[in-house]
């Protein structure tokens, strides 16, 4: 009887258990990959703003709208009056622009859905990176090609790079290789208090 049990155990139970464990780990890893580093997160925005049109075709500079990226820690989302600078006149008839104008006139806050977010306990500083010559595209991807997908009108910008600490440190440690066009770029800080105050 014992022999039979052991045989049964090895031939049937063990492989089944191993299979269950490995598959569940693998599925969890791949399913949560997106959650862990947030690549591909592309939420629906209240207004179908197209970066492809503004930053790509019309070649408006990133810093025209995201004004404080060079001066402070935050790269701000442009306030509604910046949009109205052109759209008080341009394409007034389009429904999306009318939505925008409504927000402006009613003094209502425009609730953009946030895509890129580093946790609050990490104090990421945009101006330090921008002032060193690093392009926006290196972390945010080819934003000037990000458009509203046909059929799915309201999504536009997606997160393309991993924003885990490992990804940040990877770039900090190999800054020379990542940015060959910036010969004076030193290695980014690796000590904790640079970001985690």
């Amino acid at each position: 009887m014992k022999k039979f049990l052991l045989d049964y155990g090895i031939k049937v139970r063990l492989p089944v258990i191993l299979f269950v464990i490995i598959t569940s780990f693998a599925i969890t890893y791949y399913v949560s990959y997106a959650e862990r580093n947030n690549i591909g997160y592309q939420p629906e925005q209240p207004i179908a703003f197209s970066h492809k049109l503004h930053a790509g075709d019309m070649k408006i500079d990133c810093q025209y709208c995201h004004v404080s990226v060079e001066k402070s820690r935050f790269a701000s989302v442009p306030s509604v009056n910046v949009c109205m600078g052109c759209h008080a006149v341009a394409r007034k008839d389009q429904p999306e622009i009318q939505k925008l104008t409504q927000y402006y006139n009613e003094n209502k806050p425009l609730p953009w859905m946030r895509i890129h977010r580093v946790p609050d306990f990490a104090y990421f500083n945009h101006s330090v990176h921008v002032n060193k010559g690093i392009e926006c595209q290196s972390c945010h991807g080819e934003v000037q090609n990000m458009d509203t997908l046909a059929g799915n009108k309201y999504k536009s910008v997606a997160q393309v790079s991993s924003f885990t600490m490992g990804a940040c440190l990877d770039c900090h440690r190999t800054a020379h290789d990542k940015f060959p066009g910036l010969p004076n770029l030193r290695k980014g800080p690796e000590n904790c208090s640079a970001c985690h105050r």
Binding site: N107, M113, V128, A194
Partner: protein, 1040 residues
């Protein structure tokens, strides 16, 4: 089987068989089957046994519930990052992440210091001193630092309230204003008085509004009072020199200072300027000889413990002491022309210094030093008398200064002005009698609290019942508001306009840094409305600007337009005008001295009612940060107490935490006892401003109200009583002190441990002059020299910049301003009294106070202790999760999100500077209520708010270091160490704290680090701390 029994049953009941059908009677098989099955087979035709699922009902429900639960559990938008909402119409000057600064004026006390308010995204987050203000020159006291809390206090009054039948109902402005205007005009027409009661008026424009108000309502009279005032000094000055304005003392030029019960470095409202001027004469870097401070006092004050020589003398004998000094100088040593004046001689007869010294057991040697010093430094000495001494003492001190020729130290450029003199006690008496006779119809409390502050002799609380309409204008609920008919909510000073004049030569301006958070208005606006003007949002601003155009602008004699001047004044916060003091000469008159009746000492106990650096006269009782700031000497938080000397304690057989009852003129009050070394025998000190009954959740019931002992007609002065009786009463009251109560150990092993272990190293000026390297020699004697042992860490040398700090103990007076600035800058929570008793206060910076000598006449040494950012930090290598690490620039960093709360680091820290968050102190914690919406606005956005279970400590203001790094990268330059100032460094009035890059040989901190008087605490454990302390040199005549 049953049927047999049934049949038996049927049979047994009464012998007869009962049956319902033949089947039953005959008991055939069909019947038996039917009996056993509930449903007949016909009924069950539809249901097939095989089609029943193997899932039982129970199992099915369980599965249903479980799947629903799992669905719910997983059902949150875990990838969502919330929204990012920009401005709708962004103001031009606001850049996210970059602060804006506004110049304004602090109204915490009557000093009206200039402040610079830092705002982030439109909300003020930090208050610092205004560097352009000539009095405080960029520094502000702890009350000013904490004034930001008052703005965001959740218990602020938000709407006007009306008292209807004992309950306060919210109302609106129009309703309240119209009712009040009605009451005012009816009082006017019936000739009944309208009493306006306010604290001291230092604003010229506010005074003008009062005058306008009095024009509109001629029955209105203004009464002003201040609990801590200089009226004795002012009237003495007027009698002696015939002028109303007090002079400004040039303390930085004084070589000898004699302070008579004057806490000019501690609780004096002008202590910021005093500290700066005093410590400028104690600079080790300059090489000049130090000034010398003698303090003669009965209390145990900060100034006293900073003295080179401290003489303990009961307060009511101080005037006699002054007269003995004068007698010694004038009669015996004949140094003054008054020596030939017979009137003066007869006045001074009977006062002999040696007899006095023998009677009061004073050290004759020290008195000789004092006389020598005063004589040698005639013309550059200063004798200062405390505010609570009576007028006669001040007159005597003026005479002494005149005899010594010290009037040279009175500044000729600037003097303090008095916009509106405080009401004399006679004037307050007329108010009380008018109230008594029912002649007052309307009482308006203009941001004052007379119900709490007035002496109980006035019975003000009862008198208010006779008044038809009582109106209180206040920011927070207080005792006077509780008894009012109308409560008018006021703007916080940070939301208000104003102008202030405290000294000749300049005006100080106040501007709002934020629009009012709630439906509140300024008191000036409300008064203007009551004079008949219509409300507009900028009513007072326009009035103020108008007044300045008419009265201030012409005094400049400038060609610039008024608008430019106005803009520039608001930008600077100060407007300088051409104004010379009244007369350039001072004409001394000895008549006052001859006519004054000296204060007589008694034999019994003396009670001193003291000012304090935290809640003031009680108005900041609802400010948790101030309540938790430890008293500079006793380190007691959240309470006041009766400080008794060790000798008195043994006489009364009390110990700390016992209770005593003090009775003055028939009034009694029970206080907890704190045995305070260094008090003169039989002198008891109690702080005013505590024991409030209506100060919100935080301030109510904190401490004991000493104001019940204040007499309306005091024998000596309203803060000094010598005909008191003290007795022990039963009971105990635990005082929360951040240091031990009785730190002088009789155990010989522990006695003076701080000196033997090198925590406090001191010397004397003479010792230093003779041998500048005496500290080094002591080091060898104490065997502190480093042994050749490799450190635990293999650290590389610090190339580039390395941060270090130096604290000059000669300049540090122990005032505690640095602690408050650090707490506000770094979002440090308030923990409440219970937790302070458990030693869980969260302040990152503390000032340790060490006594040495005897318990009766100790010396005290103050040492600010903060994270030393050790190069070989013992905390770093014991953290199991590497939450505390070392950076390339010498900082010991703390990563809050990684900390799991092992507390091993705090265990290892030799300086015990790590604070652990035992609770989430922001979540409706007892004694504090910080998890409320408005307090979120107060937090500094650059500093993490720590949750429960993480360790925190001083970071050398790493957020400011990172800002400098950001600026350096933006401007494509190297990091400049001197651009970074820590919060504590910014706040220190004497600039005792120096911070910067120690690798920069030209920096100040590098010079301090290499200074021969520099040492680090606990050197022998070789953790290489980066905070250097400069040894304190006492300027005494001996070498040891």
């Amino acid at each position: 089987m049953d049927k047999g029994a049934d049949k038996e049953k049927n049979l047994k009941s009464d012998g007869q068989t009962y049956w319902r059908s033949f089947s039953e009677l005959y008991n055939n098989k069909a019947f038996r089957d039917a009996l056993n099955s509930e449903f007949s087979s016909e009924e069950l035709n539809g249901l097939r046994k095989n089609s029943k699922s193997s899932l039982s009902r129970r199992r099915f429900l369980a599965l249903l519930g479980a799947s629903a639960a799992f669905a719910a559990a997983g059902c949150s938008n875990y990838r969502g990052k919330g929204q990012i909402v920009p401005y709708n119409k962004k103001p031009e000057e606001v850049t996210l992440g970059i602060p804006n600064y506004y110049a304004s004026t602090c109204t915490g006390c009557s000093s009206s210091c200039g402040i610079l308010v830092k705002t982030r995204e439109g909300r003020p987050v930090k208050v610092d001193g205004n560097p352009d203000h000539p009095v405080n020159k960029g520094k502000i006291c702890a009350k000013g630092q904490a004034s930001i809390v008052n703005l965001y206090n959740p218990e602020r009054l938000k709407e006007p309230m009306v008292n209807e039948g004992g309950r306060f109902i919210q109302s609106d402005w129009n309703n309240v204003n119209s009712k009040i205007k009605e009451a005012l005009s009816s009082a006017n027409s019936s000739g009944k008085q309208v009493a306006l009661i306010s604290h001291s008026v230092t604003s010229p424009t506010f005074k003008k509004i009062i005058e306008d108000f009095q024009k509109a309502y001629p029955v209105a009279k203004l009464y002003t009072y201040e609990v801590f005032n200089e009226s004795a000094r002012r009237s003495a000055w007027e009698k002696t020199y015939g002028r109303k304005s007090l002079p400004v003392l040039k303390l930085d030029e004084a070589r000898v200072i004699l302070s008579l019960e004057s806490d000019f470095l501690g609780t004096d409202p002008n202590h910021i300027e005093n500290t700066r001027l005093f410590t400028s004469g104690r600079d080790v870097m300059s090489g000049k000889e130090f000034n010398r401070l003698y303090v003669v006092e009965g209390a145990a004050t900060l100034t006293g413990f900073n003295a080179d020589y401290r003489i303990r003398l009961r307060t009511d004998a101080i005037e006699e002491f002054v007269l003995c000094l004068i007698s010694e100088l004038v009669v015996k040593r004949k140094i003054s022309p008054f020596a030939g004046d017979s009137q003066v001689l007869s006045m001074l007869s009977g006062y002999k210094l040696d007899e006095f010294a023998a009677k009061h057991k004073l050290d004759q040697k020290v008195l000789n030093y004092l006389l020598e010093d005063l004589l040698k430094n005639q013309g550059s000495g200063a004798v200062i008398a405390g505010d609570m001494l009576p007028e006669s003492t001040h007159i005597a001190v003026n005479f002494l200064n005149e005899v010594l020729g010290n009037s040279k130290l009175y500044s000729r450029e600037s003097e303090s002005t008095d916009v509106h003199p405080l009401s004399t006690s006679d004037e307050i008496e007329t108010l009380i009698s008018s109230l008594n006779s029912g002649n007052v119809d309307v009482v308006i409390h203009l941001d004052s609290n007379p119900v709490y502050h007035f002496s109980p002799d006035y019975s003000y609380r009862e008198l208010l019942k006779k008044v038809k309409v009582v109106i209180t204008l206040t920011e927070m609920i207080n005792e006077s508001a509780e008894l009012s008919n109308f409560i008018i909510p006021l703007n916080d000073p940070l939301e208000s306009w104003g102008d202030y004049k405290t000294r000749s030569g300049f005006y100080s301006l106040q501007q709002p840094v934020i629009a009012p958070l709630y439906n509140t208005r300024q008191k000036e606006t409300v008064l203007l409305e009551w004079t008949g003007r219509n409300y507009s949002e900028n009513l007072y601003h326009d009035y103020l600007k108008e007044n300045w155009e008419k009265s201030v602008y012409p005094m400049l004699g400038t060609t610039a337009s008024f608008d430019k001047f106005w803009f520039a004044s608001l930008h600077d916060g100060v407007a300088f005008i051409q104004e010379k003091p009244e007369a350039s000469g001072l004409s001394f008159s000895k008549d006052a001295f001859l006519k004054s009746v000296p204060m007589k000492a008694s034999d019994g106990y003396v009670l001193l009612l003291q000012n304090n650096n935290t809640v003031g006269d009680g108005r900041f009782a609802s400010n948790g940060w101030l309540q938790e700031l430890p008293h500079p000497i006793s380190k007691v938080t959240w309470d006041n107490y009766a400080a008794v000397s060790p000798q008195a304690a043994s006489e009364l057989s009390v110990n700390s935490d016992d209770l005593v009852e003090i009775s003055v003129n028939g009034r009694k009050q029970v206080f907890p006892v704190f045995v305070q070394p260094g008090l003169a025998d039989k002198v008891i000190e109690v702080s005013l401003g505590y024991g409030r009954t209506a100060a919100g959740v935080v301030g109510t019931g904190v401490g004991v109200d000493a104001g019940v002992l204040v007499s309306a007609k005091p024998a000596i002065s309203d803060r000094l009583y010598n005909n008191i009786s003290v007795s022990k009463v039963s009971g105990k009251y635990e005082l929360a002190s951040t240091q031990e109560h009785y730190p002088i150990d009789s155990d010989p092993l522990l006695k003076d441990i701080h000196k033997r272990r090198g925590i406090i190293r001191e010397g004397t000026w003479l010792q230093y002059k003779e041998d500048p390297k005496f500290l080094e020699k002591e080091r060898h004697k104490m065997d502190l020299s480093p042994i050749n042992k490799p450190p635990v860490y293999a650290r590389e040398d610090y190339k580039g910049y390395k941060w270090g700090m130096a604290i000059d103990m000669n300049k540090c007076t122990g005032c505690g301003e640095c602690i408050m600035a650090c707490s506000i800058e770094n979002n440090i929570p308030v923990v409440g009294k219970d937790q302070v008793i458990a030693n869980r206060e969260m302040m990152w910076l503390r000032i340790d106070r060490y006594y040495s000598g005897t318990p009766e006449a100790p010396k005290a040494s103050f040492q600010p202790m903060l994270c030393q950012q050790c190069d070989y930090a013992p905390c770093e290598n014991v953290c199991p999760v590497a939450a505390t690490t070392h950076s390339e620039d010498g900082l010991n960093g703390m990563t809050y999100n990684r900390c799991v709360g092992t507390r091993y680091c705090s265990n290892n820290c030799p300086y015990k500077v790590r604070r652990f968050n035992y609770f989430d102190f922001r979540d409706h914690f007892k004694d504090s209520y910080q998890y409320s919406e408005s307090f979120d606005l107060m937090a500094n956005p650059e500093v993490t708010i720590r949750a429960r279970g993480v360790m925190e400590k001083c970071t050398f203001c790493v957020q400011r270091i990172m800002k400098e790094r950001e600026d350096a990268i933006r401007e494509n330059r190297e990091v400049i160490g001197s651009n970074v100032t820590t919060a504590c460094q910014d706040a220190c009035p004497s600039d005792a704290i120096v911070f910067g890059n120690v690798n920069d040989q030209d920096s100040q901190v590098a010079k301090y680090r290499e200074h021969e008087l520099g040492y680090t605490v606990l050197e022998e454990i070789k953790v290489a701390p980066n905070v250097t302390y400069i040894a304190r040199l006492r300027n005494i005549f001996e070498k040891e």
